[in-house]
């Protein structure tokens, strides 16, 4: 276990080198002026159905997902499967909502969701709240991608932070140079090797373990189903996560970089292919139980270092020959690079458009905007690296959990805002503040370790996702506040958009 596996490492490094070359070559793909933010940060809004499918697939189904979902299933059983209903319901929601966002963004040249909020409600402060929430939620998410790389490097016997630093410096360099084109091109390779890995895993491993029946039989029966008190947690986790997914800046970037409304709609019918993959990956958690990797002395060191996150790497080491271990681990590591690149671009877009330009340099040129965004994308990645290297990874996990709670608090301004501007921007801002406070407080009472808060309603106790409880508080404040402000005749901001801009 402590020896470096030469064959696995060679395959891993070769694949990593391949995507590095692709990352730099991407600058020439669909050549355009990368000194404009819409080109660097949105790929010129020209990605068609297939590229968008790869890009969003690579963006949403991250390396950390591939490590953490089976880890949760391995540890907590059925509850970890909330990722399935979550990804089933997110696409119908996106089908209805996101084409409106695309149309209005295309019409007005919006690059971020906060740009839209700025235009719709005429408030730079509400836009600032949306932008800061997005940046705050994204930073730990990038850090967790690093955890994914760290776990597979560790599983190959590589210790120390240097390899991680090298991987991230390379990533930072080609993101700086090529912008969104780099992850879009790399996503094609990444997804191909992820599909091969997972299909091999879900065929080969159960065969070795005696079939799926044997896998499920090996799991303690109590883990296989939800206890009655887990049901409301399960469905609120699914609902809250589904509504939050496309509020994340990196998903929004994926949506806005597509070439049209129909591309988004087609993708909502095609992206479930990745959900199927995710469901199969979740089952790897049970396969790890059935293969008894947790009690094998060979993997004790790995589990000691990385906890349940080591379940999938251990399973692969147990089941596959060296060369395929290298292939599979490369899939996970490259799977971390794609979302990390998109997330840093999305955070950079937010900073540049909604903080730098809005509050410091309203007269800045397109070239200056693009330059600032490129530099910020470096800063963001460096911040994430420091986060992981200098601090305990538990902090990053806790922060990412909070990030999910926080990002959902932008729902009223962004999603409700796409349909009506009856809500007053001051009330939306107050609702956002209440939602952030309530959500953070709930997470604090859970020591930032679990997302499920037991709500006491008189005599009944309803356990549910803290993000959803916080969103309800947020919406109540926004609605009541708007009614009060409207009754008082308080002036609204100017709406820069018209009904026809939403494209229906």
């Amino acid at each position: 276990m402590n020896d470096v596996d030469g064959v696995a490492l060679a395959v891993f490094v070769a694949l990593f080198a391949l995507v590095t070359v692709l990352g730099f070559v991407a600058a020439r793909w669909r050549k355009a002026d990368l000194d404009q933010l819409a080109e660097w940060g949105l790929g010129g809004r020209r990605f068609g159905t297939m590229v968008t499918w790869f890009l969003l697939g690579g963006d949403l189904y991250t390396a950390y997902t591939f490590i953490a979902v089976p880890a949760l299933v391995y540890g907590a059983g059925a509850l970890g499967f909330f990722a399935m209903p979550y990804t089933v319901i997110t696409y119908p929601f996106v089908f209805v909502v996101m084409p409106r966002m695309w149309s209005v963004a295309h019409k007005h040249g919006y690059i971020t969701a906060a740009d839209f909020v700025r235009g719709r409600f005429g408030s730079s402060h509400l836009a600032l709240a949306v932008a800061l929430t997005g940046i705050l939620a994204t930073m730990p998410y990038i850090a967790l991608q690093l955890v994914g790389i760290q776990v597979v490097l560790g599983a190959m016997g590589i210790r120390g932070d240097l390899p991680l630093v090298i991987a991230f410096v390379i990533l930072a360099a080609y993101t700086y140079q090529s912008g969104l084109r780099a992850p879009a091109l790399i996503a094609v390779v990444k997804d191909a090797i992820i599909y091969v890995t997972v299909i091999a895993a879900v065929i080969v491993i159960p065969l070795k373990l005696g079939g799926y029946g044997a896998v499920f039989d090996a799991v303690p029966p109590k883990k296989l189903l939800l206890a009655p008190e887990q049901m409301s947690a399960y469905s609120t986790l699914a609902l809250g996560s589904a509504l939050a997914l496309f509020l994340y800046p990196h998903s929004m970037t994926g949506v806005l970089s597509s070439s049209g409304r129909a591309v988004i709609k087609r993708n909502t019918a095609m992206l479930p292919a990745y959900s199927l993959l995710l469901g199969l990956i979740a089952l790897l958690g049970y396969m790890a139980i059935a293969a008894k990797v947790g009690s094998s002395p060979a993997y004790a060191d790995g589990f000691g270092r990385y906890g349940a996150n080591f379940a999938v790497p251990a399973l692969f080491l147990d089941a596959f020959p060296s060369w395929f271990v290298g292939f599979a681990f490369a899939a996970i590591a490259i799977g971390a690079l794609v979302p990390a690149a998109i997330m840093s671009i999305a955070a950079a877009n937010l900073f540049t458009r909604n903080i730098y330009r809005e509050f410091f340099r309203p007269e800045c040129t397109g070239k200056e905007e693009a330059t600032v965004a490129k530099v910020v994308s470096l800063v963001v990645k460096f911040g994430a690296l420091v986060f992981i290297v200098a601090m305990k990874k538990e902090y990053a996990i806790a922060m990412q959990l909070l990030g999910g709670v926080w990002i959902l608090q932008t729902f009223p301004a962004i999603v409700v805002g796409l349909y009506t501007r009856w809500l007053h921007w001051r009330a939306l801002l107050a609702g956002w503040a209440v939602g952030m406070t309530v959500g953070t407080w709930m997470a604090w009472t859970l020591s930032f370790k679990a997302p499920v808060f037991a709500l006491h309603l008189g005599a009944t106790v309803v356990p549910g996702y803290a993000a959803v409880w916080a969103l309800i508080a947020n919406l109540v404040v926004a609605v009541v506040g708007s009614a009060a402000l409207n009754a008082a005749g308080m002036a609204r901001g100017r709406d820069a958009t018209a009904t026809a801009d939403y494209g229906e």
Binding site: A78, M84, T87, P92
Partner: protein, 73 residues
């Protein structure tokens, strides 16, 4: 098909979009599927039911897409 006015098309599209609520009902009401039986190929109901919904969800979105498709401007 005869030409529809934009208004009619809009109403028709919204009716089709109601179909998109079906996956929410099918997956968010946990008592529908929190059970081990019936197994299929050794896989408990809880699991294959949810896998099935990935497919149903995709088909429903595709149906709504084709039913409400309009020429891109």
């Amino acid at each position: 098909m005869g030409a529809k006015s934009p208004d009619q098309a809009g109403r028709g599209a919204r009716a089709w979009q109601l179909l998109l609520l079906v996956p929410f009902v099918g997956t968010l009401w946990v008592p529908f599927y929190d059970s081990l039986e019936p197994h299929i190929g050794g896989v408990p109901y809880f699991y294959w039911y949810q896998f099935l919904w990935i497919g149903i969800g995709a088909v429903i979105t595709a149906v709504v897409y084709f039913a409400t498709r309009q020429p891109e401007p």
